[in-house]
Every structure is written in structure tokens, then in C-alpha cells.
């Protein structure tokens, strides 16, 4: 029977199928971090089960870490406690651990690809919903709960029913100033935050073929925001070039053996999806969100829709706008911005900082804006320095922080104060996500940069055009 990319990877990892029940799915790679793992390790201890394959689990500290003075002891005792627990658990069970200050430390979903932990055709899980990021390599990657973290530690398997399959095709070429983040926000605005629930998504078509690996990561990262279990893109030469030679990538004969499997990872021509969507690249503009879920996004030059125009409940919609203190019909352009955050596993990689720097270059940070520039990992941080981007950023009045999840979920000190507006390159604009009472506008690194230098919501294409004329 014809199979999709998803079928091929899933089916090859099923250890056992239960009748009227889930599949027992083998997990190749497991990433853990300090926040969702301590209770799982406690469970392991209580059951005396041990960790079955310690070399398939990788630990990094990211969710709870400060982004300043990482060489000093962590001030928050609860955070410090979680970091200590992670270190102790990793040591006890022989799991590699890239703690705070380690040269390979960074956000789970940023370091996984950087060191070749993420591979095509692998099954990858982590106790964080944006594990879907790794799908960019043609892996089945998804977030799990703490009970499942414990399961994977103890047995390297989880038990889940096979999701349904969806394909999203985008034809054509992206227009000027439109980034992978905009593509993802566009798709979510069309499907809504629950539109892909129960499904695993494959992204196909020219737009994704043309995208860099980092761009593909941004798109797959946001799959969860339309309810999907995950998203994936078939591996191609770009994928293989990216992973070749990285620390945990198979080498020599192992590479050749893996390649035999990887080369099969394409959806068969006559394979059938449960659902399929088609979009045109030329319809996509730079996007921005105006509400309290990632589906509430519009082209940046448009105005906030009226309640009657949107699907779903009018009262939920109005509650959301009330929280944002926005009105139906208002334009987004020109709205004042207090904070700008570039970072997270969505847009915290080197290409994102290049994009940000390209706009702030030769300009100055707006006085009314507090900007947090947080690289996704030390590797990204080093690249920012080596490529000379740091000089550009500092020249424009910005300061670079140390890596971590930071204001993506505001577990550390990087919290947007109540009532303040943040243009953020992260992935969630939920109420209070970036700090109690915070108001988040999700956008691309270009749009974040445009807001950072003008102090208000600005169409990044205007600044990009100015630059193009000057150049």
C-alpha cells in the first residue's frame, strides 16, 4: 500500500500494536530539560526501573535559566533546585548533560539539530510541545507529558494511537520580506489553533523545498499551534548536507546504512492523506498576531477583524481583544510597542539574528523599547560574535543576552510587565505567557527588528526597501 512519509517513519518504529489501543512506539532520541523531568526521574527511582538506553537521552538546561550572569549561582532557589536535580539525575543514570554554562548548552530544540542528535526518519520526543521543530529533518517529533518522559526513560517507548495525516501544500515563491515565520502564522490563521488536532502534518511544495533548514525548523516548530501532534518535511540534499559530520550523526559505514533508510523517506505518489490544504505563496504577507492565541494573526498592514468575520465564539473573541485592549477594525501598524523579544526555539537561530541585524544596522533602538536579544544556544551566540553581528547590534544600542528559553515562557526573570506590549518572535501569545498580564504580538525577526527601531508596529518591508534603495 502506498505510504506517506509519516507512515514510513511511524510504522518502522512500532514495536507492538494493541488491538483497540495504542501502538507501542520506539523512541530513537529523547531530549530532557529541567522543568518537565524531575518528577519523571522520581518515578524511575520509586519503581527502581533504571534508564534502559541512557545514550538515547540528552539533557540540557533551558526553560528556567537566567539570561544574564550565567557564571554566577542562580538566584531563584526553585530554579536552582531544578537545575541541580537535572544534573544529579543525569549523572546518576549516565545521561549526557549540557548544563548552564556548558559550551553546548542551549534550548533543547536548538541544540538537538546543532549536534546531530536530530536525524531524518528518527522518532524524537521531549517534554515540551515544540519538539515538533525536529520534524524539519523528516523526523517524527512531538511533545510529551511527564508520565511519558518517565516511560521513555524506563522503556524507550511510549504508547499512543497513530495520528491521522494531513498535508499542507504551498505553491509558488514567497514575496519580498516574507519569512518562514510568516508562512507558519499564515497557515495557523487559516486553520485556527485546533484545525490540525489529531493529525500529523507534512509540509510540501516549492515554498518548503526552497526553505533553508532553519526556516523549515521555524515552520515545523509552530505545527503544534494549530493543534497538530507535529509537522514534518521530507529530507533532501539540504537536510543531508546539514547533518553530515555533526557530533552525533552516524559516520562511515553507519552513515551509509542510515542513508539506505533515509532515501526511502518520501511520500509515495499515490499515498492518501486524511486531510489536505493548498495555499499560494503569493497570498502570504508579513504576519502579526493581535489576540491571545496564535491563530489570531493577520497581514501586518491589515486591520483587526470584526467579531462577526471570524470563526468561533464572539464572546471568546471579544474577551481576547479586551485582554489586549484592542478594538475591532483598528489598524495594527503604528501601535506602540514596549518590549521586543527575539529568541526561542522558533526564531532564536543564527539566520534569525542575521535578519534582525539586517534591519537594525545603521539605525538605533527606539527609546521607548526594552529589547531582549536571546540566542537559542551558545553555538548561536558564538556565531553572532564571529560573524560581526554583535558589533552591528551594539552599535544600534542593543545588548545580547545569554541563551535560554527566556521570555518565551517567562519562567526566569525575563517577564514582560502587566499591560505592556511585546513584539515577540516566540510561539505563543496566550494571556500571561510572557509574564502575568503581558500582551504579546507574535511576528518574524524582521518585524521584531522594525518594531525595535521605530518603537511601534511597523511593516518591515518599508525598512527593507529603504535599505535596498540605499545599498
Amino acid at each position: 500500500m502506498a505510504k506517506t512519509l509519516f507512515d514510513k517513519v511511524w510504522d518502522s518504529h512500532v514495536v507492538r500494536s494493541l488491538e483497540d489501543g495504542p501502538d507501542v512506539l520506539f523512541i530513537d532520541r529523547h531530549m530532557v530539560h529541567e522543568v518537565t523531568s524531575p518528577v519523571a526521574f522520581r518515578g524511575i527511582k520509586a519503581r527502581r526501573s533504571g534508564v534502559i538506553f541512557p545514550d538515547r537521552t540528552f539533557a540540557t538546561a533551558d526553560h528556567n535559566t537566567p539570561t544574564k550572569n550565567q557564571h554566577l549561582p542562580v538566584e531563584d532557589p526553585l530554579s536552582a533546585n531544578q537545575l541541580k536535580a537535572l544534573e544529579a539525575n543525569a549523572r546518576e543514570y549516565g545521561i549526557s548533560h549540557w548544563g548552564l554554562g556548558h559550551e553546548k548548552n542551549g534550548i533543547v530544540h536548538v541544540v538537538g539539530p546543532e549536534y546531530g542528535i536530530t536525524l531524518p526518519g528518527a522518532t524524537i520526543v521531549c517534554g515540551d510541545s515544540h519538539t515538533s521543530t525536529h520534524g524539519a529533518f523528516g523526523a517524527i517529533a512531538f511533545g510529551i507529558g511527564t508520565s511519558e518522559v518517565e516511560m521513555v526513560l524506563a522503556t524507550q517507548c511510549i504508547m499512543q494511537p497513530k495520528p491521522k495525516k494531513m498535508r499542507i501544500n504551498i505553491k509558488g515563491e514567497l514575496t519580498f520580506g516574507v519569512t518562514p515565520k510568516d508562512v507558519a502564522l499564515y497557515i495557523i490563521s487559516k486553520l485556527t489553533t485546533s484545525g490540525a488536532t489529531g493529525h500529523f502534518v507534512e509540509y510540501a511544495g516549492q515554498v518548503f523545498e526552497n526553505m533553508t533548514m532553519e526556516g523549515r525548523m521555524t515552520v515545523c516548530n509552530l505545527s503544534i499551534e494549530m493543534g497538530a501532534r507535529g509537522g514534518m518535511i521530507a529530507p533532501d540534499e539540504k537536510t543531508f548536507d546539514y547533518i553530515r559530520g555533526r557530533e552525533f550523526t552516524p559516520k562511515g559505514a553507519d552513515w551509509d546504512k542510515a542513508m539506505l533508510y533515509w532515501e526511502t523517506l518520501k511520500t509515495d505518489a499515490d499515498a492518501v492523506f486524511d486531510e489536505e490544504y493548498n495555499f499560494e505563496a503569493s497570498d502570504i504577507e508579513p504576519m502579526i498576531t493581535y489576540g491571545t492565541n496564535p491563530g489570531m494573526g493577520i497581514g501586518i498592514s491589515r486591520s483587526i477583524p470584526h467579531a462577526e468575520e471570524v470563526a468561533g465564539g464572539v464572546s471568546t473573541y471579544r474577551k481576547s481583544l479586551g485582554y489586549m485592549d484592542f478594538n475591532e477594525g483598528e489598524a495594527m501598524i503604528g501601535k506602540p510597542v514596549d518590549y521586543v523579544f527575539i529568541g526561542s526555539c522558533t526564531n532564536g537561530r543564527i539566520e534569525d539574528f542575521r535578519a534582525f541585524a539586517s534591519i537594525v544596522k545603521g539605525r538605533k533602538k527606539a527609546d521607548n523599547v526594552v529589547a531582549w536579544l536571546v540566542p537559542g544556544s551558545h553555538k548561536v551566540e558564538r556565531a553572532i560574535k564571529e560573524e560581526g553581528l554583535l558589533d552591528i547590534l551594539e552599535e544600534a544600542g542593543f545588548e545580547l543576552r545569554e541563551p535560554g528559553c527566556s521570555a518565551c515562557l517567562a519562567m526566569n526573570d525575563d517577564k514582560v510587565p502587566a499591560g505592556k506590549y511585546a513584539v515577540s518572535t516566540s510561539n505563543r501569545n496566550f494571556e500571561g505567557r510572557q509574564g502575568p498580564g503581558s500582551r504579546t504580538l507574535l511576528a518574524s525577526p524582521y518585524s521584531a527588528a522594525a518594531a525595535a527601531v521605530t518603537g511601534r508596529v511597523t511593516d518591515p518591508r518599508e525598512l527593507l526597501k529603504e535599505d535596498a534603495v540605499l545599498a
Partner: protein, 198 residues
């Protein structure tokens, strides 16, 4: 983690007719700093439930003494967002054993099943009937019957079937979890692993 067996639950219900209730609302990230599973119920819906000075918000349903019970009834797409199992723990620890909605986010649904909270998905029209019933009478009782896979509005006798796969149903009925099952497969898993390309 062991949890209480679930068979038949008869209870009043707490209504929350809001759509897309995300896990950041159910338990905000700043309460995820524990290394033990303790006390999450206190912070369930923290920012909807309390003002920043810690005083309860009178207009939030959990602070309204009119409503109580072991069943939480939520609007469409309940539990979207983060994979934090802490959200399901908070629901359980607060005292809910069942969440009824017309649609659940996948990870939250799975987490609930793993920690002993039964997610019951009903049709949009049945969900409306439940909300209407609670509005009419806050003391209205509902029956969630896992063996029969039914939910009943006791006052009217209205009933709907719900889905759950046989394996998960067995687990809930017996208070088992997946690790109990997987632990017996160890050699099968090891053999499987030795055949993989990496």
C-alpha cells in the same frame, strides 16, 4: 504515578464556557518550578482565579460557591498549548476527575488519561445542553459512566456515548498506567532496538 480507579462518577459540575482554554491558563509557567508533584491544585487557573495581590477574583467560577463538583465542563479546544502534564495534575489535584468538552487538544487529552482524569468528548449540542442545565440549576447532577462510556444529564435523562480506546479504558478502570504495561516488554524492546539503523 498511581491514581484512583475510575468507574462511575456522579457529581455536580463546574461550568467554564470559554473556548481554547490553554495550559498556560490552567497552570502558568511560573508554577512549574517544583521537583515534586505537590500542591498544583492550589495554582489551577491561577491568574484567572486570583488578583496579583493573592486575593480571589470574585467573578471567576472556581471562586463562586454556587458551583462545585468533580466534573469540569469546558468550551471547545480545551487544553491547547504546552505539553506540561502539570496542567492535568493541577486539574486532578484540585479535585476534578473528569473534564467534559466538545473538543480536546491532543497532548492534554493524553496527559489526562495518564494521570487519572477522564477527558470526555461530547458533541457541541450535548455540551450546550450541559451548560444550559447547569445554568438552570447549579446543583444539577451528571453521571459519567466509564464501563458504559456514557454521560447523562440526570435531571432530563439526556445521554450521550463517548469514545475511549479499550486499552486506556482498562487502565482507567484499574488505575494502571502505561509503564506497568511496557515494563513487561523489556526484552522485546531490546531486540527491536538492535535492528534499527541508528
Amino acid at each position: 504515578m498511581a491514581y484512583d480507579k475510575f468507574k462511575v462518577l456522579r457529581s455536580t459540575a463546574v461550568p467554564m464556557p470559554i473556548e481554547n482554554v490553554d495550559t498556560d491558563q490552567i497552570i502558568p509557567a511560573r508554577f512549574l518550578k517544583a521537583t515534586e508533584r505537590k500542591g498544583f491544585g492550589d495554582n489551577l487557573f491561577r491568574d484567572w482565579r486570583y488578583n496579583s495581590d493573592g486575593s480571589p477574583k470574585a467573578d471567576f467560577v472556581l471562586n463562586n460557591p454556587t458551583y462545585s463538583g468533580k466534573i469540569l465542563v469546558g468550551g471547545k479546544n480545551f487544553g491547547s498549548g504546552s505539553s506540561r502534564e502539570h496542567a492535568a495534575w493541577a486539574v486532578y489535584d484540585y479535585g476534578f476527575r473528569c473534564v467534559i468538552s466538545s473538543f480536546f487538544a491532543d497532548i492534554f487529552r493524553g496527559n489526562c488519561l495518564n494521570v487519572g482524569v477522564l477527558p470526555v468528548q461530547v458533541s457541541a449540542s450535548f455540551l450546550n445542553k450541559i451548560f444550559t442545565e447547569i445554568e438552570k440549576n447549579a446543583d444539577a447532577e451528571f453521571e459519567v459512566n466509564l464501563p458504559e462510556q456514557t454521560v447523562t444529564i440526570l435531571a432530563t435523562g439526556d445521554q450521550e456515548k463517548f469514545d475511549i480506546n479499550g486499552y486506556k479504558k482498562d487502565n482507567m478502570l484499574n488505575g494502571f498506567d502505561d509503564i506497568d504495561y511496557l515494563s513487561n516488554m523489556k526484552s522485546e524492546i531490546e531486540e527491536f532496538a538492535s535492528g534499527l539503523p541508528f
